[in-house]
């Protein structure tokens, strides 16, 4: 296997499981346990992508989630393709196909890289300056151009074939990060039996211990201590350890969202296995052991492939058994990179160190390096690099004694194939900041550290700027123990860690030519930031948006401190005076799938169906969505279209009998000694005088006097009413009534219970309605004298106990049979069978709409829109003038609500018999007037009415009742048409049919 940069031994990879993946179609060999990045580096591949703006060649910079460069398109097979995946996070498996992005025609020869050599036109604020003018160019030129250039990868175009799940979880202590501090925290927290969740974003928990080959902890090698710790935690039933799980967002009340990745590392995952699981954890206490990110050095051409973070080089060597170069220059301003140098030397590389600190400022690491045979150039700084697709030399110069000026003329080139850079460490305070905790700048550590907490959260380890192993473990143990109220375990002994660094003057790169990158992913240079400050941008938030520094998908994990340092220096301020930008969720990118979870396809939203639904479906009904309900829209026979079906259904109702599923109507049982008084307050009409066994139609108003809902109030007993609402208003009306009961009318002894779903409602309407149901009804005399229009009685229908209403929304004799919902289907079928003798027709919501419009009955939400009063729709008679109070009464007296020329409900008859007006069309008096014309109202409902023999419409028209007989003009798609204003009733204006 050709892995020229794979070390012969070592690492945590499984050398017994070789694998082959492809990169831009070429085979790349690796082992199980590799990431895509480690496999590429083992094969000597450093050039992996082109940068965002300048299309500069880029290589792997990091070994973790902070990676800004190595973003690849990953195809896991079976439609599992994803762009912009960090090669340092993606786990390798056989058959994985990864592709570079943002290059054409090939990664090596990218034509757009000419942008890098153009005059500096795409610096800071490029978009704001360039795409200002002329406005028309935005639509035709700029926006398409920007859209094409924006982003690196190509979004998948097929549906996501994978499953996603959500889980809620609760625990006493959530520990984020399973490095030395997190392990110690979880150990200490779980001893007291507390419920602990420990999550870690990597495939293996362990953090920095996974690449520590030299430290001992309590006389155990670090990795053995780790293995012991993990085994102990695994044995504890009160600990849930989640690997490959990133804490992405920290909300109020210690509500933390985690994303667990379950299948991205598998070639052939089980079909049932979710790709990702979004955990919503509610934790009593949180311990953040999130570690720190290393900073790259800022110098011209610091982005050449082969220039990597020093700790990343160490990770590739120790954890993956990969030597990223054979001649490695370690360029650093601190101690930790010396560990990289020593480990690289031991692995067989030729290593030299360039330390920006003067030799008298360097700690014990200097002797350690020299003892390992490593040359150290102290007091030198990198000022450039050479190479094309891979670094070939690092250019370094001696720093002036004050550390501010490099001696450029005397610079020298250090030949190399890899540069390991370190400019110190930035604690990962993202989640702490999201928790609204205060960040405080620590000058000694040159970093923002967690200050006072707002929530029950503690931070530990490198996340609080502790870089010594024993100190990390101690702080983790303390945080865990304190969170659990458990005793703090005794301190451990560990090999001292090489720590400490001395920041360089942030403006040093500005004294050199070329592009010194601060934000690699968004291609923001030190000069861009200086330009922004010189153009007057002072706030770090403004500089960030103007330059886009820190606004890429890595959210500036490697660049934030360099950005702040540079802005502070240019403004002559200290870093804390400039402040830090806000850390926002998510910590790393989250897939839409994880956010959606199970809520897709049929689970996207509940689909509510009635007890009669399956029967209607079997009859071939077409359904329409009404809220989350499916309601039968119409019942086409054979080749009928909707118009033909509705025509037949309406004729059947007026001619004989029709059957309608009204089960979705909202229903509320109002019970209590004060039920009548309460309903008097809730409805505009009077309800307390209703006799037992009688029904009354009522309007419910809002406080503002406008119609909220309508329905039938039926009295079952002195203290018990059965109230109906519109389908869409069911929940709203119950909440409205509860609200008044609990806040305004608190002394009334009334209870409200939703019975919408208790009762299936079967409406039987038409001149033959009584004949149809009579044979099925027991215990009740249906003759008009005994059971007139607007009556209710308990009886049996088809043997089932029922609440039978005589009510009509069609203008025909009608009954509404309420039966317990489990019996709805059977009773429906019994009525249908009984109606065959009368050619009974099931009808849908469309025919229902036509039938009620023929009678001028309003539909709340169609004839009303929240600004319509009872009088506007001709229902002033339903407003009691006697009642001392009801909701909306005061508002109805306001001048605007009682003025005479408000828009009023009228009928409209188009001049052409069969011309159906458009619902929503505007109405004007005459068309000769200048634009904008005076609009008098609009069409609210419009249908073809078979029974009226013409098109009919309802409209709200200014002063409409005085315009009856007048001609008005109604807008159409291409002009106006003429219509005559009429009374809003087109059938049986005397209303005789409803009584039989």
């Amino acid at each position: 296997m050709s892995q020229p940069f794979r070390l012969p031994t070592g690492g945590r990879i499984d050398r017994s499981s070789p694998l082959v993946l492809t990169f831009d179609g070429r085979a790349v060999h690796g082992f199980a346990g590799d990431t895509v990045a480690s496999a590429l580096l083992a094969n000597g591949v450093h050039l992996v992508g082109r940068s965002f703006k300048y299309h500069r060649p880029r290589g792997v910079l990091a070994a973790g989630v902070e990676e800004p460069n190595a973003l690849l398109d990953v195809d896991r097979g079976g439609g599992r393709r994803e762009p912009n995946v960090r090669a340092t996070v993606a786990e390798a498996f056989a058959g994985l196909a990864v592709t570079s992005q943002n290059r054409w025609p090939s990664l090596e020869r990218d034509l757009a890289s000419i942008a890098d050599r153009l005059p500096p036109v795409i610096g800071a604020g490029f978009y704001y300056k360039t795409f200002m003018w002329p406005p028309k160019a935005w639509v035709r030129l700029y926006e398409p151009l920007i859209r094409r250039a924006a982003g690196l990868g190509r979004a998948p175009d097929g549906a996501d074939p994978e499953r996603y799940e959500h889980r809620h979880a609760h625990c006493d202590i959530l520990v984020v990060g399973a490095g030395p501090a997190g392990i110690a925290a979880a150990m200490a927290a779980s001893t007291a039996g507390r419920r602990v969740i420990l999550c870690d974003e990597q495939a293996e928990p362990g953090g920095a211990l996974l690449h520590d080959q030299t430290s001992d902890i309590d006389d155990l090698p670090a990795q053995a201590w780790l293995a012991d710790g993990l085994a102990t935690l695994a044995r504890r039933a009160n600990v849930r350890l989640l690997a490959r799980t990133t804490a992405v967002s920290y909300y109020n009340h210690n509500h933390v969202a985690l994303v667990e990745r379950l299948t991205d590392h598998l070639a052939e995952p089980p079909a049932s296995r979710p790709r990702e699981r979004l955990w919503q954890v509610r934790a009593r206490e949180v311990v953040l052991a999130t570690g720190a990110h290393e900073r790259p050095l800022t110098f011209p051409d610091n982005d050449r492939p082969g220039i990597m973070l020093a700790e990343a080089v160490r990770i590739y060597i120790n954890r993956y058994g990969v030597l990223p170069g054979r001649r490695i220059v370690v360029a650093t301003n601190g101690a930790s990179a010396y560990e990289t140098a020593i480990d690289a030397r031991r692995a067989g590389a030729a290593v030299s160190i360039v330390d920006t600190r003067a030799s008298d400022r360097i700690g014990p690491e200097l002797d350690a390096a020299r003892a390992a045979g490593i040359e150290v150039l102290a007091g030198f700084v990198p000022i450039g690099s050479k190479g094309r697709h891979r670094v070939t030399a690092l250019r370094v110069a001696r720093l002036s004694p004050d550390g501010a000026l490099p001696d450029v003329p005397d610079a020298r080139d250090l030949a190399c194939d890899c540069v390991a850079v370190s400019a110190g460490w930035t604690p990962a305070v993202h989640l702490f900041s999201q928790s609204r905790g205060r960040l405080e700048f620590d000058t000694a550590r040159d970093a923002f550290l967690p200050g006072s907490s707002v929530q029950a959260v503690r931070s530990a380890g490198a996340a609080v700027g502790l870089y010594d192993l024993a100190a990390c473990i101690a702080s983790g143990a303390r945080a865990g123990a304190e969170s659990a109220g458990a005793p703090v375990p005794p301190a451990v002994h560990a090999t001292p860690t090489l720590t400490g660094f001395a920041p360089l003057p942030p403006d040093l790169p500005l004294r050199l030519g070329g592009k010194a990158f601060v934000d690699f992913q968004n291609d923001v240079t030190a000069k861009d930031l200086a330009l922004a400050v010189s153009e007057g941008f002072e706030s770090i938030e403004h500089v960030k948006r103007y330059t886009t520094s820190g606004m890429a998908t890595d959210q500036g994990k490697t660049s934030s401190m360099a950005t702040m340092g540079l802005v502070a220096t240019r403004r002559g301020l200290a870093v804390p005076a400039v402040g830090t930008t806000t850390f926002r969720p998510p910590y790393t990118p989250v897939s839409f799938g994880a956010l959606a979870g199970q809520s897709r396809d049929r689970l996207f939203d509940p689909v509510r169906t009635t007890p009669v639904h399956d029967w209607a479906a079997a009859q071939g009904a077409r359904f329409e969505d009404v809220g989350s309900w499916k309601r039968a829209h119409y019942f086409p026979r054979a080749s009928e279209d909707m118009a033909a079906a509705v025509r037949r259904e309406t004729i059947a109702v007026r001619g004989s009998v029709g059957l309608f599923d009204a089960s979705t109507l909202g229903k509320i049982e109002v019970v209590g000694p004060d039920a009548g008084r309460f309903l008097d307050l809730m409805y505009a009409g009077i309800m307390s005088t209703l006799a037992v066994g009688r029904c009354r139609y009522g309007l419910m108003l809002k406080e503002d006097g406008f119609i909220l809902d309508d329905g039938i109030v039926a009295r079952l007993a002195d203290d018990r009413f059965h109230v109906t609402t519109t389908t869409g208003g069911a929940a709203r009306v119950l909440a409205h009534m509860e609200d008044y009961l609990q806040t305004e009318f608190t002394t009334l002894r009334v209870f409200l219970t939703s019975i919408t779903e208790q009762w299936a409602v079967i409406a039987v309407q038409g001149p033959k309605a009584r004949e149809t149901i009579a044979p099925l009804v027991d215990d009740l005399d249906l003759v008009d004298a005994a059971f007139p229009h607007m009556s209710i009685a308990r009886c049996r229908v088809a043997g089932v106990p029922a609440r039978l209403m005589r009510a009509s929304f069609t203008g025909e004799r009608g009954f509404e049979i309420n039966v317990p919902a489990d019996y709805g289907r059977a009773v429906w079928e019994a009525v249908f069978a009984a109606g065959r003798a009368h050619q009974i027709a099931p009808y849908g919501t469309e025919a229902m709409h036509v039938l009620r419009a023929e009678k001028g009955f309003i539909i709340v939400g169609q004839e009303t829109d929240g600004t319509v009063t009872p009088d506007d729709v001709g229902l002033a008679r339903l407003v009691s003038v006697k009642k001392p109070d009801f909701v909306g009464k005061r508002s109805l007296r306001r001048p605007d609500l009682s003025r005479p020329n408000r828009k009023q409900l009228v009928g409209l008859l188009s001049d052409a018999f069969h011309e159906q007006l458009d619902e929503g069309a505007q109405i004007v008096a005459h068309t000769g007037q200048p634009i904008p014309m005076t609009m008098l109202g609009h069409v609210t409902s419009s249908y073809m009415s078979a029974c009226a023999g013409r098109a009919i419409a309802l409209a709200l028209l200014a002063d409409g009742r005085h315009r009856i007989g007048e001609t008005v003009h109604v807008t159409t798609a291409d002009g106006f048409t003429r219509a005559t204003v009429a009374r809003p009733v087109f059938i049986d204006p005397e209303g005789n049919r409803v009584h039989g």
């Binding site: 809620h168 509610r282 007890p611 019970v671 219970t753 106990p801 019996y823 059977a826």
Partner: protein
């Protein structure tokens, strides 16, 4: 009048096959009597032993005889300060309502038959907690949600009533009948990784 009829009943989860797995049993439960009982409580102790029904339990608990997810006797699930969902075996609605009415006479109250408003299912087994957690934000651990707990909550976008009936792992779940298919499908989807492996 007693609720007996020759007409066929059809419930929302009719014909749904139970999910069975060593770690999971999910099955629709048979028809039941359900009464919504509303009564303003002066002192809960007043209600101890009301026609065999103990209304003195704390909010979000149930009282009654020992039961499993299937109904044995009468159980009162206290869902609010003045609200109980009374569960009893199917067919007992009328006599139960009558005896409660008699016991509460003179005290403002409401008893409403909501037997058909809900469908119910049992989800039991060691995986049950985890699967309900796919859509329910409550802490379902037996320490936080012990036997005797009964509460309103959410499952995904559906309102549910969830009760831990006995010490075996699992729950009885009540849901509005029109949302029963959604709830069943939601749980079945969440259970796939358990059931199919």
């Amino acid at each position: 009048m007693a609720e007996t009829s020759s007409a066929a009943r059809s419930a929302p989860l009719d014909g749904v096959a139970p999910l069975t797995h060593p770690a999971l049993l999910m099955r629709p439960l048979p028809a039941a009597t359900r009464l919504s009982l509303r009564v303003t409580v002066g002192a809960p102790a007043n209600f101890a032993a009301l026609k065999g029904l103990d209304l003195g339990g704390a909010i979000n608990t149930w009282t009654g005889a020992a039961w499993t997810a299937s109904l044995a006797g009468i159980h009162a699930l206290r869902l609010g300060p003045d609200e109980w969902l009374v569960l009893a075996p199917d067919g007992d609605a009328e006599p139960l309502a009558a005896s409660l009415t008699a016991a509460l006479s003179g005290r403002p109250h409401a008893i409403v038959d909501v037997s058909h408003r809900f469908a119910s299912l049992e989800i039991a087994g060691t995986a049950a907690e985890d699967i309900v957690s796919a859509g329910c934000p409550l802490d379902l651990d037996a320490r936080a949600f012990p036997t005797g707990t009964a509460t309103r909550s959410l499952l995904g976008k559906a309102e549910i009533v969830l009760a831990r009936t006995d010490d075996r792992p699992g729950f009885r779940l009540e849901v509005a009948r029109s949302l029963a298919a959604y709830v069943w499908d939601f749980l079945a989807e969440a259970a796939r990784d358990v059931v199919e492996n």
